[in-house]
């Protein structure tokens, strides 16, 4: 029971802040008499979200699929490449500038092109999600390997461990905190990336749903879809935190008091 209480105490301030914002919004929409086609009140957004729950859900599923598949691809690619880059200085020099350039591409320009090349299916979404999440993951991993304590590496060398063994026993686990930090950042990019890809052209998905709602002068439905995407992002974020806690039990010990 105290555990639940402390959790409530920590979540409390955030909940109050959000509630205050929503209340202020509600009052403004109500008192100013602004048309709901310009600024719908939160209550109206919630009502319409509930009324259109079926359509919303049907459009959320493709977004979730694109997000997870794209993120999965990006993660796998980043992991394999990070190992190659860690082992080869030459490869790092050759490829890192390319990756940096890939990050400067404006999504607004790239998304329609990718849709043009790969159609309205799942493929362009996966590619765009991968594009926006790949680099943060790669950088996190490469930095993580570099963060390995020099004395641990010297120790392993003194034990006779070769390059690969030193990587597996020391560099890889040292990257874990960086990996999870990167994961938390890029999982939020992933949802945005997927929605943007759908916005540029899709049969179904939150992105295209938002576009259609906007064109039909239904800002309440736009905001409902935004609410769904925010919830989705928060859930994925929470999932990464949970996985990190399970995967790295020693971190909490380092922060906590030692017996």
């Amino acid at each position: 029971m105290p555990k639940t209480l402390s959790l409530l105490a920590r979540a409390g301030p955030a909940a109050i802040a959000i509630a205050t914002l929503l209340l202020a919004w509600q009052f403004y929409a109500y008192l100013s008499g602004i048309s709901p086609t310009i600024l719908p009140s939160p209550v109206r957004v919630a009502e319409q979200a509930w009324a259109n729950r079926r359509a919303l859900w049907d459009n959320t599923l493709p977004t979730i699929r694109a997000t997870l598949l794209g993120f999965g691809c990006s993660l796998a690619t980043a992991f394999v490449l990070s190992i190659l880059l860690d082992f080869s200085q030459a490869l790092r020099r050759a490829l890192f500038p390319v990756f940096i350039v890939s990050q400067t591409l404006p999504l607004v320009a790239i998304a329609p092109l990718v849709v043009l090349w790969f159609g309205f299916g799942l493929m362009p979404k996966i590619m765009l999600v991968a594009l926006v999440t790949f680099f943060p993951m790669l950088v996190a991993l490469v930095q993580g390997y570099e963060s390995t304590e020099k004395e641990i590496l010297t120790l392993l060398r003194s034990m006779g461990a070769g390059r690969w063994l030193r990587f597996r026993l020391a560099r890889l686990p040292s990257a874990a905190p960086f990996f999870f930090a990167g994961l938390r950042i890029s999982i939020t990019y992933a949802v945005v990336g997927a929605i943007f890809a759908e916005y540029a052209g899709a049969a179904r998905g939150l992105g295209i749903y938002i576009l259609n709602a906007k064109n039909n002068f239904r800002p309440d439905l736009v905001l409902a879809a935004v609410g769904v995407s925010a919830t989705l992002t928060l859930l994925l974020f929470a999932a990464t935190v949970l996985v990190q806690r399970l995967a790295m039990p020693w971190v909490r010990l380092e922060r906590g008091p030692t017996p």
Binding site: E149, E151, T154, L156, R157, S158, M159, G160, P249, L253
Partner: protein
């Protein structure tokens, strides 16, 4: 008798900066030898050569008469900070060397578990390093070193990062452990008292570029308790060593 380890006229320069200027020393089986020198004298460089991190420009390193080849694994190295892996439990940290040697995890665990009580770590096998005190972490690091069963221990200022009280405790404990096991050990330190307390012989190095300035035998009986007579004899040796050390340091400073 052929020494366990024999260094002859080892020279090393980094770029144009000479670091080691003809170091010769030897360590016999079952002997505890210290290398004492000012900070930055190149003591750690010497260890790096033994564990295969860097090569000497000239000179020879022999183990039991054989030239030290590129193969590593004759020495068990204990670095300055404990270098315990925070993500491994103490038990798995201690088996690290055996794992690198290719021993199965189960066999390695069985082997080291028997050593835990003697190192005062019984009951802490499944703790993470972060849960242990500085002294315990250092004992775990020594256990990890000893468990490798190499010919010789290389200890690089193993207690340098500990507070004074813990350090004294650890020195006494190490001296007792050494008496029981008679490891061949080479210790790097800049702590005169530590060197005198633990060693059979002490090599005093000059400031960089390092040479052996003087070699002391420590004729004090073991166990080296801090009794009244023990203390008096020890401080006589300490004073002599310190005198030599300070003299070389001043020379080093006036001729940079």
């Amino acid at each position: 008798m052929t020494p366990k380890l024999e260094l002859e006229d080892i020279r090393k320069a980094f770029g144009t900066t000479p670091v080691l200027d003809g170091i010769s020393l030897d360590v016999h089986a079952g002997e505890f030898v210290s290398i004492l020198g000012p900070s930055g004298a190149g003591k750690s460089t010497l260890f790096q050569m033994l564990i295969g991190g860097i090569r000497a420009d000239s000179g020879s390193i022999r183990c039991e008469g054989q030239l030290l080849g590129p193969e590593v694994g004759r020495f068990a190295f204990m670095p300055q900070r404990d270098a315990l892996m925070p993500w491994r439990r103490i038990l798995d940290n201690v088996t690290l060397g055996l794992e690198v040697q290719g021993m199965g995890r189960k066999a390695a665990r069985e082997k080291v578990l028997a050593l835990f009580p003697e190192f005062g770590l019984a009951g802490f096998e499944n703790h993470y390093p972060a849960q242990l005190s500085g002294g315990m972490r250092q004992r775990a690091a020594l256990l990890r070193t000893v468990a490798q069963e190499r010919d010789m221990l290389l200890l690089d200022e193993p207690f340098g990062a500990l507070d004074a009280l813990t350090r004294s405790g650890m020195q006494r404990w190490l001296e007792a452990m050494w008496r029981r096991h008679r490891w061949t050990a080479l210790l790097i330190t800049h702590d005169v008292r530590e060197a005198v307390f633990l060693s059979d012989r002490i090599y005093v190095l000059s400031a960089r570029p390092a040479r052996v300035v003087c070699e002391f035998s420590v004729p004090l009986p073991r166990p080296r308790h801090a009794g009244a007579t023990g203390l008096r004899d020890a401080s006589a040796v300490e004073a002599a060593v310190l005198e030599t050390l300070l003299k070389t340091e001043t020379i080093g400073e006036s001729n940079p």
